[in-house]
Symmetry: C2
């Protein structure tokens, strides 16, 4: 997705998703909430009474090369398949050291050494994914990644996040929260 | 500069910079104003009565590789040198086609074919420069570039912008306004 679509993720007592658990992986946690709402659009109202609100945007590719873009376009399902009643929202902030690196240095760590895209491709089409950017918005996290999958693929999803967290790229993660969701 | 610093450029009747001229290069122009104010900080108040207001942020490198980063760090002066009493603010928006390209395709056009960074390096240290990003903020422009220079280097600056506008990269520019400024 290369268009800029604004989204707000609001944790509170309203929203289509029930929160199963919120686990701090590294750094400051997010407060426990019962439900999560996702609204799209820059001015779209998100529910009142939210305990926290995370704003982010879809944007252009930052590291993905043309070969990878084409492979993802072939394999990647849309979000919201009827059977995808499990979801995860994983907000991440990376260190100042990461952001000071030149583009080629970040790409080397991200893909040539950590295989971030290659690992994700291995879990398609079971695990659908959308990346949102938040750093330029002055938000507390740099990215939010949304995943959805069928209950039967929950084990695959654990394997995917476990593999990513062992990579060199993850040494530059200074805050990560793992929010697991379900809908009826 | 890799830190996220919010800035607001407000055109109106207040501000440290007198507007010499505002030229539409391609696409919709910006309204004529007498003065420009630049304020930093996400919540910093910018003058009331502005005719237009452009918000943007400094951010991480998007195309610059390590060799280029080091060359820029060696040669690039800070903004605001006492003799730099001329400035330009050039807001640009690129096409949807540009933004849909994979990262390596954009890098190839930007540097391997258009020599954007190499051309700019040739005008250092005379022409100081800072790039601001605005696309993820939902602003009407994708980037704002601020340049400052001494009056004696105004001809060099014309040459620099003229060369950039002839590149392949500029075929993807769908809106550009060229705002020239001076301070006493």
């Amino acid at each position: 997705m290369s268009a800029v679509v604004h989204a707000t993720f609001a944790g509170g007592v309203e929203g289509a998703w029930a929160v199963e658990r919120i686990s701090p992986v590294v750094g400051q946690p997010l407060a426990a909430v019962a439900r999560l709402s996702v609204t799209e659009g820059r001015e779209a109202p998100s529910p009142g009474g939210a305990i926290w609100r995370l704003r982010a945007v879809t944007s252009n590719f930052r590291y993905t090369n043309e070969t990878e873009r084409a492979a993802l376009a072939d394999l990647q399902p849309d979000l919201g398949r009827p059977q995808a009643t499990r979801a995860a929202l994983i907000p991440i902030r990376k260190t100042a050291e990461w952001w000071a690196l030149a583009q080629d240095r970040r790409r080397e760590i991200f893909e040539e050494r950590s295989r971030h895209i290659a690992i994700g491709l291995g879990y398609l089409p079971a695990i659908a994914r959308r990346l949102y950017h938040a750093r330029d918005l002055g938000e507390p996290f740099d990215f939010l990644t949304w995943f959805d999958y069928a209950p039967a693929d929950a084990g695959l999803f654990e394997e995917l996040v476990g593999r990513l967290r062992e990579t060199e790229e993850w040494r530059y993660v200074e805050r990560e929260v793992d929010i697991r969701l379900m809908r009826e």
